[in-house]
Structure formats: C-alpha cells, structure tokens
C-alpha cells in the first residue's frame, strides 16, 4: 500500500467517525447507534483507481473515485480538510445546479405567456402581443439589472443554501412602532457594487430576475389589443426597476413584511413561498390599474354596458401555452427551496406534488363551473382554471399538505370564473386574457391560504423569517400567521395598486397609454409594429 493510500485511509476513517457522530444526533431517540462507526475502512472500500482507461468505463464502475477529490497541496496529499471542502462544494454545487436549472425553466414560462396571450387575442394584434411578451423579457431584465435587484435583494443577507455569501447586507430602514421597518436594499447595482461580483449572488440574481419578468408579463395580457408599444416599454421598465422590487424586498429581501413575525409576533411574518403575492398579485394589481385607466377595447361592451365576448384567434396556442406554463411552474415552486441539499431541500418533492395537484383541481373547478353554468366545458376558462390553481398554490406550496393543495386549487378554479364575471359585468374592466382574475384574485387567495392551511410540518433549517419552528396557519393553531398574510394582501391592494396607478398616470401624461381608435380598429400590427403576424391570411377589419 502506498504512502498516499495510507493517508487517504486515515483521513476517511477519521471523517467516517465524525460524520457518523453527526448523523447520530439527527436520529430518533431510541434508535440503535450506527454500526458503521466500528467498521474499519479498508482499501477494498475504494473503487479501484484506474491505471488503464484505454478501454473506457462502460458500466461506470471506475468513474468517480477518491482521486477526483481536489488536493490542496500535492506534497501533503489528500487531507481531511480536502474531503470536507469537497463535500461542502458538492452541497453548494447541487444547490446551484438545482436553482439555476429551475431558473431556466421559469425563463421558458415567457414562451407560455406569449402564446397564451397571443392565442386569446385577435389575429390582427398577434404581432403586437407577441412583441410585448418578447421584449418584456429584455426590458424587465435591463431595469432589474440596473436598479431592481439592488432594491429587492440588496439587504437580504446571506442565503445559507447557496454558500452564505454575506455581501447583500445594506437594507434601508425606517423606525416605526419601536421596530426597524426594512424598506429597500441598497447594494448589488450592476452586480458589481460592494463585492456583489460573487457566484452566489449571480445565482440569486438569475433566479429572482426570471420571477420578476413573470410579474411584468402579466400586465401585457390585460392591456393587450390597445396598449401603445412605447407606453408598454416605459411602464415595464419602471415596474422592473421599482414597483416589483419594492414589494419583493418587503416579502423576500428581509423587509418589514417578512419581519412581522420576529418584530410583532405575527406567526412567521408574511410568508409567500414562491410568489402568489410577490409575483402574481403584484403583476395583477398593476394590470388592474392599467385596465381601469386605459378602458375597454372598442366593441367589448354595448351601449347598455353589457359585455360581449371577443374570442381569441387560436385556442390551440392557448392550451399549449398553459402546458408550457405548468411545466415552468416546476421551476417556479420547487426551485424556491433554493436547495436540494440541506435546510429542507428535500421538501422540493412535496412542493412539486402540491403544485401539480392544485393545477389539476383548478382545471376541474373551472370546467365544472362552466359546464354547469353555461352547458359547455369552455376551453379558455378551463385553461385559466388550470393556471389559477397553479397561481394559488404558489404561496402555500412549501407549507401545506397534498389535501389542502387540492382544496386550494379547486377553490381557485371556481374563483377565476367568478372573478372574470365580476370584472366583466360589475366593474366593466376589459381583461382580454383574464389575467387579473387568474393572477390577482387567485394570487390573493394563495396568500391568504398560507394563513389558513399551513400545517406546521415544513422545516427549512429550523426557522422561517427569523422565527423558530415551521409556518403554521389558523386551522393548525396560529391565528397570527393569518394576520400577517392579510397585511400582505392589504399592502398589495393599498400600496402596490396605488403606486402602479400613479406611475402609469404619469406615463399616460407623457407618452399616452392608449392607441387611437383608428389604430385599434385596423389592428395594432401594422400601425404599431409595421408588419402583420400572418401575412398570408386575410384578416377581418372592424368598421
């Protein structure tokens, strides 16, 4: 046996004892001590170090051995520190890979939104609608890179699952009621500011950026078929730079909503696992503000105010887009664990199942409502019910059990239908794709449902938002959590809506929000974009 092999054996035997001790602490009382500690590590425990790989390794038995561990000093050979560092690097590597891949999935949701919205609008506006959904990605990312990320995450502190980088450490606060209220972060501009040129920060940026873009693209659906493209660009930039990041800081960046538990004893503070409130409701209340401001499409209501259906031009795209979105949701919700290794990372499995169950019951809720009420299983509303279930489970997915997920989704499926009718018949707000109902009504329902159904069984490192224990809702004994969630709802309605409204009024004054009636009747593709989406088709123009 060589000197290097002896060192390896010694190191691993020592590490084996250490890690066994660590595992024993986590075992249930009364379970037998691990027998592995008394088993000596021998050279037969190692895979044969391959000396001749000229024939490859078809069964994988020679690949991945102790020789693959990076040695810090060639003279010292493999040390216990090398082994421990490799384990740490593997843990963070697993979590980086998971979070990045989930971020890539979420990015693809932009394609889902694009085809859902375009399918639900008329062919004469297809180029315009697609181009809004296409450019919202770049416009939003630019705004977020320049300003938004620093405001949202600049004071978030270290994320342990991603290596605990401590550079996001500047939160602007206000003192109120004897406590510090975190309002916005102040580091991370351009990802270079104050040491934020950091691999963990890059992962956080990518993951948070795609969330932000999801919120922005909700607005384009409600304002479709009449929104001036210039206004869309300016409005989306402001939302990506300020509106979204401010609320996201309050909820996810260590701001005052997240600290309602630690500061005021309200459960675990405002808890929104993957963004029913932060992403979907912020997008939807902004969409509602715009929908009210720019008014309905020509022909949507008759002179008595009775709504008329304006069918979209491609249901195939609509339902295909719903599936693309549901696929992306597996990045959205399970990815929000930010880990597969450590601090509750394995809970991602439960989050994924909760997500798919709520989508299923959401589609059932909507199809049954439409079938019973109108005699037909409406396709677009069934798709919207599917999305509504997914939106609603987004906040509670990490805190509830599968049965609660089914119920939350079922309610969402019915709620989206009721909300569409309410907007159409009572408020007379024209929302061509139902975005306010899908993302707003159900985003708020999702936020509230955390305060009702969180079962206290989740464990993300022993605490949440600085409060020990698991998030627990009213039905499981913690009424304070419901109050925290409702304060979040109130903030979305009373602050985010007002901020969005004021911003868009200013944009209306400067560049104008709505296209001319002539442009709208002709279709926005030629006047706004210079080309139609389907040049070989003969399109119908309204008088």
């Amino acid at each position: 046996m060589t000197k290097r092999s002896l060192k390896i054996l010694l190191c691993l035997a020592t590490f084996g004892c250490l890690s066994t001790t660590g595992m024993a602490q986590g075992q249930a009382p009364g379970s037998p001590p691990a027998a592995a500690a008394s088993v000596p590590v021998t050279s037969t425990d190692f895979k044969t170090t391959p000396t001749d790989r000229t024939h490859g390794d078809p069964d994988g038995s020679l690949t991945g051995t102790a020789t693959d561990i990076t040695v810090s000093s060639a003279d010292a050979g493999l040390t216990i520190a090398d082994v421990l560092n490799q384990i740490g690097a593997n843990k963070i590597g697993i979590n980086f890979a998971w979070t990045l891949l989930c971020g890539f999935l979420i990015m693809f949701m932009q394609a889902g939104f694009a085809v859902v919205e375009t399918g639900l609008t008329r062919a004469k506006n297809a180029n315009h609608t697609m181009m809004m959904n296409f450019m919202v990605y770049g416009v939003g990312m630019g705004a977020y890179y320049l300003i938004g990320f620093a405001l949202q995450m600049g004071g978030a502190g270290a994320v342990a699952n991603l290596g605990g980088s401590p550079v996001l450490n500047a939160e602007h606060t206000m003192h109120l009621f004897g406590k510090d209220f975190g309002l916005w972060g102040n580091t991370g501009y351009l990802l270079m500011h104050h040491g934020t040129y950091d691999v963990a920060v890059m992962v956080i940026f990518l993951f948070q950026m795609v969330f932000m873009d999801t919120a922005l693209t909700i607005v384009t659906g409600t304002a479709a078929e009449r929104w001036k493209y210039t206004a869309f660009v300016v409005s989306s930039f402001v939302m990506g730079a300020f509106t979204y990041p401010i609320f996201a800081n309050w909820a996810w960046g260590g701001g005052w909503l997240a600290m309602l538990g630690a500061n005021f004893g309200l459960g675990h503070g405002y808890s929104d696992f993957a963004g029913s409130g932060v992403v979907h409701s912020v997008g939807a209340v902004t969409a509602l503000a715009l929908g009210i401001m720019i008014g309905p499409r020509i022909g949507k209501f008759d002179r008595q105010g009775k709504p008329r259906a304006i069918p979209g031009h491609d249901l195939t795209w609509v339902l295909t887009g719903c599936f693309i979105l549901a696929f992306g949701w597996f990045g959205f919700n399970p990815g929000s664990t930010l880990a597969l290794s450590g601090n509750g990372g394995l809970r991602a499995a439960s989050v994924a199942v909760n997500t798919m169950l709520a989508g299923m019951t959401g589609s059932f809720g909507a199809i049954l409502y439409m079938w019973i009420r109108y005699g037909k299983p409406d396709a677009s509303m069934t798709g919207n019910g599917f999305l509504a279930g997914l939106v609603a489970i987004t906040a509670p997915c990490g805190f509830v059990n599968p049965i609660a997920s089914c119920f939350i989704g079922l309610v969402a499926g019915v709620l989206v239908c009721l909300s569409v009718e309410f907007l159409d018949r009572f408020m007379r707000v024209d929302d061509p794709v139902g975005a306010v109902s899908v993302h707003g009504a159900n985003g708020l329902w999702g936020v509230i449902s955390v305060g009702l159904f969180a079962d206290g069984k989740s464990n993300y490192g022993g605490s949440w938002n600085g409060v020990p224990g698991a998030v627990t809702g009213l039905f499981y004994g913690d009424g304070g959590q419901l109050v925290a969630q409702l304060i979040g709802v109130s903030t979305l309605l009373g602050f985010v809506f007002v901020m969005s409204f004021v911003v868009n009024i200013l944009i209306d004054v400067v560049v104008g929000q709505r296209v001319s009636a002539r442009t709208e009747l002709e279709g926005l593709d030629i006047p706004e974009m210079g080309a139609v989406c389907y040049p070989d088709f003969v399109l119908k123009t309204e008088d």
Binding site: G295, R303, S490, G494, V498
Partner: protein
Amino acid sequence: MAALGLAITFLGFVLSVASLGLSSSNSTRLVIVLVGIVVSLGGIIGVINPAYQKNALWKK
C-alpha cells in the same frame, strides 16, 4: 374623483400598518386589517373605477 379614490385606497393600507402599533392583540389587529382591506377595495371598485367609467368609450 380618481385622486380621492387613490387616497382612500392608500388609507386602507395605512390602517393595516397602523394596526401593528394600535394593538398588541392579534384579534384586534385582524379586525383593523380586514377593515383596511375593505377600505382599499372600496377605493378601487367604488371610487376609482366609476370615475374612469364616467366617460367610458362604450357610453358614447
């Protein structure tokens, strides 16, 4: 009218935040926050939207 509606909507938010300082009882806070939400919804649905509907396109 729209400006008044915005003020009312914002007032609902202020009420909810104020509940944190007005009481240490979660039940009392719950009531105040619910009132805040109703006030904000009233501002949006009852004031801002009607203000914009007054000159709605479909009425012309």
